[in-house]
Symmetry: C2
Subunit: 369 residues, 2 copies
C-alpha cells in the first residue's frame, strides 16, 4: 500500500518546528537559571514564564497558572468547577477530548450548534430560556477544533452578556489564536470580561507539542484553588520544559517560529481548498483564515463511515464528523492540514476523491493509482 | 535574622546536580531525535526511555509507564485502584503528600508502625486478622520518607506472603533506592513478586527534581488502564524532559551523577549525626545508610510544635513528626540533609540545640549567636 497520508492528527510536521531554536533555548536556559530549571518549582509554574504570559495578557501574575499542556489545564478547571450532573454548554461539533473529559466527570453536556461565525448565540439563548443553568460554556473561539470557524466580535459580546445574565463562566479555550494567516483578529473574551472568563492556551502550536506547556488565565481566587489541585497532582509542572519555553519566548524565537508556522499553514490551507474544489466538488467548506483544520460537509446521504474505510484502504486518514458530536455528523469530516506537505495534500485529496467516488456509487477506480 | 537553614525540603542542593551533563544531554537529544522530542508522544511516555527502564528492571516494556514525576504516577495508581472507603495500609510515619492524596480520595487509611528495619509486619498481620481488607499497602522500602529506615529482606518476604494471602497489592514507592552509601541492598519486592507489586520510582533524586520524570512498573493490564487515565489527563507526558533523561541515562551521565550524589549524602549524613551527638544528646536516631532523611525522637515530654517556632526564630527549619501521621508524633521531627552543605549542617544543628534548650526549660541563649 502507498505511504499513509494523515489528515487526522492535529499536530505540526517537523519541518515547521524550530528545533535549532529549541536547542539554543535549552542551552541558554540551563546556563542562565540552573537552580530554577533543576529544582522543584511552584505549582503555578516556572515564575519567569508565568510573568511573561501575564505581561502578554496585561494581567497580574497571580491570574496565571502554567501547566503540563493545556489539556491538563482543562482537567484542573473541570475538577475545580464541574461536579457530577452539572450542565456544561459546548459547541456542536467540538474537540473530542473535551467531550470525553466532561462526560467522564458525569457532566450534563449540552451541545449548541456552531455556525460559520461561531456559536449560535440565539440557540444558546433558547436553551437558557428553557431553564438550563450551565456552570460553564466551553468555547474554542479561533479556528475552532474541529470546524476551523471563528467567533465574531458581536457574538463574543452577546455570549458574555448571556454569561453575566445567567451567571455562568465562559471557558475560552484558545490554542490557535496566534495562527491567523488571513483576516482580522477579534479581541479575546478574557480581555473583554476578565471576571467572567477563564482563558486557556498552549505553546503546542507555536513551539511544539512535545514540550507540553499550556496555561490558564483566570481570577486570582480560582487560580489559587487550581494551584492546590496542581500541587496535589504533581508538586510542580515541568521546570525544564517551562524554562526552555521562557527562553524561547524572550529571545524572539517564538515570534519567528509563529511566522514560519503561519506561512506554512497558509500555503497548506490554500492547496487543500484548491484540491478539494478540483477533485471533490461535492465538498462544502469554508476556507480557513488560520489554525489547523478544515471541516467538510458532504451531501446528506453520504456515509462518512464507509468513506473512512474506503479512504484507509487507499492510505489516507481523517477524523469522522460524528466523533465530535454526541449524535449526528455522519456526512461530515475533519481534515487537519498542519502535519502534511503540499505534495501530500495533492496526493491525499486525490485518494479521498477516489474513495468518495467508490462509496457514492461512482465507477470504482484503481486504488493503486 | 541569620540566613535561613532548611532541614525541611526533601530536595538536593544545586552543587550536586550535573547541570553541564543536563545541557549536553538536551543538546544531544534534540539532535538525535528531533521528531520524538517535539511531537505529541504516547501516554506511556517517551519510548526509548521506557525501554531503558524496562531493561533496568528486566521486564517487558509493556509493564512500564513513564509519568511527569512519580507523584503523578501515585495519583494515577490511586485513581485506578482506590475507591472511596477502600482500605489502604500505610507506614506510620509516612510521606505527608501520600497521606493527603489518599485522604482526599476518601480512602480508609490504616497506619501500621514503622520499625528500624521497616514496617511492623506482626502489627500488620494483627490488623489483617482483625478483619481489615486492604486494597493496597503503600510502602517506601528504602531510606523511607520521613524516617530514613529500610525494610529488611525477611520483612519484604513476609509482606509479600501476607499480600498473597489477603489479596492486596503492594505499592513499592522507591525513589531513594539508588542513594545507598552504606550497607547492602535488598532486592526490590517487584522483582520478588511481579504480579503482586506495583513499583514506582523517579529521576528526581538522581537527575534533578525540576525535570519531573517518574515511572511505574506493574502488570501489563494495569499499565494499560493507567495509560488511558494518563492520555485523558495530558495526552502524553513531557517528551522533551523524557528525551533529555533518556540521553542522560544512556550516555553514562546518570551513573556519574549517582556517585556524586551518594558521596555528598554520605558526608552530610555523617556530619549531621556527629553534630546531633555533640550538640543535642537527647536526640535518638538511627544513622542513615542512604537517602535524604534522618528521623529524630526527642524525650516524650518535648513539645516539637514549640521547638519548631523557637527554631524558626533562630533561622532553622524542619518538618514536625506529627505532619507524617494521622495522630501522634509530637516529640519527633524529620531532618532532611540533601539540600544543606556541611557548614550549614554544623550551624543549623547548633541553632536547633539552642532552640531545644530554650523550650526544654534550659537557660535561654542569645538567639543571635
Amino acid at each position: 500500500m502507498a505511504k499513509m497520508i494523515s489528515f487526522a492528527r492535529g499536530a505540526p510536521s517537523l519541518d515547521i518546528i524550530d528545533v535549532d531554536g529549541l536547542r539554543a533555548a535549552a542551552d541558554a536556559a540551563f546556563q542562565k537559571d540552573p537552580g530554577g530549571l533543576t529544582a522543584y518549582g511552584s505549582g503555578v509554574g516556572y515564575v519567569p514564564l508565568r510573568d511573561w504570559i501575564a505581561e502578554q495578557h496585561g494581567v497580574p501574575a497571580e491570574r496565571v497558572l502554567v501547566t503540563n499542556g493545556s489539556m491538563q489545564a482543562d482537567a484542573f478547571l473541570f475538577d475545580a468547577l464541574v461536579g457530577r450532573g452539572d450542565t456544561v454548554v459546548v459547541e456542536r461539533p467540538t474537540y473530542d477530548r473535551t467531550l470525553l473529559s466532561l462526560r467522564s466527570r458525569g457532566a450534563d453536556v449540552r451541545m449548541v450548534e456552531l455556525e460559520h461565525d461561531g456559536l449560535d448565540v440565539l440557540a444558546l439563548e433558547r436553551v437558557l430560556k428553557a431553564g438550563a443553568q450551565p456552570k460553564l460554556a466551553h468555547i474554542i473561539p479561533n479556528f475552532q477544533n474541529p470546524a476551523g470557524y471563528t467567533l465574531s466580535l458581536a457574538k463574543r459580546e452577546r455570549l458574555l452578556e448571556l454569561a453575566r445574565e445567567h451567571d455562568f463562566t465562559v471557558f475560552e479555550d484558545d490554542p490557535y489564536v496566534d495562527l491567523r494567516f488571513a483576516g482580522e483578529p477579534a479581541p479575546t473574551m478574557v480581555s473583554l470580561d476578565p471576571e467572567r472568563v477563564v482563558y486557556a492556551s498552549s505553546f503546542s502550536k507555536t513551539v511544539c507539542p512535545g514540550i507540553r506547556v499550556g496555561y490558564l488565565v483566570a481570577p486570582a481566587e480560582l487560580i489559587a484553588r487550581i494551584q492546590k489541585l496542581a500541587v496535589g497532582a504533581y508538586i510542580s509542572p515541568n521546570m525544564v520544559a517551562e524554562g526552555i519555553v521562557n527562553e524561547f519566548c524572550r529571545s524572539g524565537a517564538l515570534a519567528r517560529s509563529i511566522e514560519t508556522v503561519k506561512a506554512a499553514l497558509a500555503e497548506r490551507a490554500r492547496t487543500l481548498c484548491e484540491c478539494l474544489e478540483r477533485e471533490l466538488p461535492d465538498a462544502r467548506f469554508v476556507a480557513p483564515q488560520g489554525g489547523y483544520f478544515l471541516w467538510v460537509d458532504l451531501p446528506r446521504s453520504t456515509d462518512v463511515g464507509a468513506l473512512f474505510e474506503a479512504a484507509a484502504t487507499r492510505g489516507v486518514q481523517f477524523v469522522k464528523g460524528s466523533d465530535f458530536m454526541l449524535d449526528g455528523g455522519e456526512a461530515s469530516l475533519r481534515l487537519a492540514y498542519a502535519g502534511v506537505t503540499e505534495a501530500e495534500i495533492e496526493e491525499g485529496v486525490g485518494r479521498l476523491a477516489e474513495a468518495y467516488q467508490e462509496i457514492a456509487g461512482g465507477v470504482p477506480v484503481n486504488a493503486a493509482r
